[in-house]
Structures are given as C-alpha cells and as structure tokens.
C-alpha cells in the first residue's frame, strides 16, 4: 500500500516506496511529463533494517523433504525442532518458497494429497529456484 499525504497543493509519500527499475523509469517519465520539469536523480544510501540479517545468513541447502515440511500446518517452534534451523531462516524460506510452490502446483493441477518430496524435486528442477 502506498500512502500519499496531501496538504492542499503539496503532495508527498508517507515513507519511501520500493520501485523496481521498470517502475522507477515509468515513474520519472510520468513526473517529467506532468510537471515539464527535468528530474535529477540523487543516489542515496539507505538505512537498512535487514543489513545484518542478510549479511549473516549463511544458509544450508534446503532438501525437498525439508521443503515439504514447510508446506505442513506446523508451528515454527515445531519446525525449528524438526529441521534444526533458526526461526529467521524458516520465516524467510517459508515466505519465499511457499507462494512460488503453491502457484506452480496449482497451475499443474496437483491436489494436497499428491504433494510429496518428489513433486517438490520436480518443482526445483523445473524452476530456477536455487533453494539455498
């Protein structure tokens, strides 16, 4: 959600907004079009919330059997015990892997009962998911 703050004819973002390069180009082009002003892009080093997390994560490779567990309705506390991984690594992997896999499996027409580690292996082979 992008919140735009308005006060009469002034307008601002509530907070910085993430834009990939394609969106950013379109955004700048549109502003130039609207304002007829030239835009100067100023590079900024952001304060990073995740810096330490990203730098310090040295993940072990995920096996299909482990990924299968991420699809199960288990709490993180149980998953941590079973997989011997940190909660942060579980959260990041679940947040990344589950949507990609679910979308793939739905497109393939699989049902819940059919999902096994060999299906996950097939997914990993077909997708470019590097599953670190």
């Amino acid at each position: 959600m992008v919140k735009i703050q308005i006060n009469e004819d002034l307008l601002d973002f509530e907070a910085p907004v993430y834009m990939n390069d394609e969106y950013f180009k379109r955004f700048c082009k549109k502003i130039e079009e609207i304002t007829k002003e030239e835009i100067e892009i100023i590079p900024v080093i952001e304060k990073e919330r995740w810096a330490g997390i990203i730098d310090k994560q040295k993940p072990r490779k995920w096996k299909p059997e482990e990924l299968l567990l991420l699809l199960s309705p288990l709490e993180h506390t149980e998953l941590k015990k079973k997989l011997r991984r940190s909660e942060m690594s579980l959260v990041l992997k679940q947040g990344d892997f589950v949507p990609k896999f679910t979308s793939w499996a739905k497109n393939k027409g699989y049902s819940l009962q059919e999902i096994t580690s060999s299906i996950i292996k097939q997914y990993l082979e077909e997708s470019e998911d590097e599953h670190p």
Binding site: K3, I6, L10, Y18, F27, K30, I42, R49, G52, I53
Partner: protein
C-alpha cells in the same frame, strides 16, 4: 525536481511536490496503475528523508489480505505494495503457517480452494487487530534476536577487520570498518537497556 533513489531501490521525494489540481489528478491516477494507493490529508509533512533514518510502514488490513494470497508471487506483491522483497517475505513467512493451519483445520486443499474466499473466512474468524498485533510482535521479536546476534558478531569482527586494513589486505578498507562501527554503535544504543 530532485528524486532520491536508494541503494535498495526505494524512492523518495527530496521535498513534498507541488502540483495543481490537474497535475495531482493525473499523478494519482498514474500511481494507481502501479500500486494500491491510499490518500491521507495531513497538516505537516515529514522532515526526514530517505537515508536520514529507518522508515517503517504500518501494514494495513487490505495489504494483509493481499499477502495472504499464497499463490501470488513475491515479485508481484512487492511491486503492487511498494515494499521491499525482504519485508514482504518476512511478513509472509510469519503469516503462512497461520493460513496453512487454518486450511488444515477446515480440511481444505490449498491447491484447489479459492484462496480469496479462504482468506476472507480466516480474517472474519480471527480478530483482525489482534492478528496484526501478533504479527508485529513476532516480527519485532525476530528482528531483535537477529540484531543482538549481529551486535555480538560485530564486536568480534571489527578488531579483526581493523588488523586486516592495517596489513593492507585487499578487500578490507577503512570505509568498511567505519560502516561496521556505525552499525555497532546504532545497535548498542538500541539495546543498551536490554544487554
């Protein structure tokens, strides 16, 4: 006009932008083609800009419903919400077990069910504010744990890197030591009462 572009692909205005009514309408219509947009009338604008501090954006219930759609790719979600990949993955990683547990309790197949309907039912059944607070607490707890680990690592790492800089080993610069020291100071300040 100056636009700030961050190293993590965030974008900010250097100052609030002045638009006439027509321009404003055109700009907002354009933004709506890229993102979910919400308008807010305010009295004063923020003075801090990207790079000055860490910005955290509250998650709205609309966003919550959207990230619950576990068959929607993270790339799509980050684009639509204007949030970084990392923040989306973190939030989704915390939410996903909840929706998987709910689906299992209801004995529905997440690969066959209409996800939107499932989410709607889940949100109806759970108290939304409680859920949002729970998510926020879990995420903060997780970040705190990691930052404390980072703090300990930095304390051990900085003297080693300083020695490598002294020995002029390639890849280790005074700038990198400075950045690490700044980060250490920031973390020490944040957790001074908790360590």
């Amino acid at each position: 006009m100056n636009i700030l572009r961050g190293n993590n692909l965030n974008v900010d205005f250097q100052n609030p932008v002045k638009f006439n009514n027509k321009q404003k309408e055109e700009f907002l219509n354009f933004l709506k083609t890229l993102f979910y947009v919400e308008l807010q009338n305010i009295k004063t604008f923020r003075t801090s800009r990207m790079g000055d501090k860490l910005f955290s954006k509250e998650w709205s219930s609309k966003e919550l419903a959207y990230i619950f759609k576990i068959d929607e790719s993270n790339e799509e979600v980050t684009k639509k919400l204007g949030r970084t990949w990392m923040s989306v993955v973190m939030r989704r990683g915390i939410l996903i077990p909840m929706i998987l547990q709910y689906a299992s309790k209801k004995k529905v197949d997440i690969y066959k069910v209409n996800i939107e309907k499932l989410i709607e039912d889940f949100l109806k059944e759970s108290k939304e504010i409680k859920l949002m607070n729970k998510l926020k607490r879990q995420e903060e707890k997780l970040i705190e744990k990691n930052e404390k680990q980072e703090l300990v690592l930095l304390e051990g790492e900085i003297p080693k890197i300083e020695r490598m800089v002294e020995q002029r080993i390639v890849g280790f610069t005074e700038e990198s030591v400075k950045l690490k020291k700044e980060r250490l100071k920031e973390l020490k300040n944040k957790y001074k009462d908790k360590i």
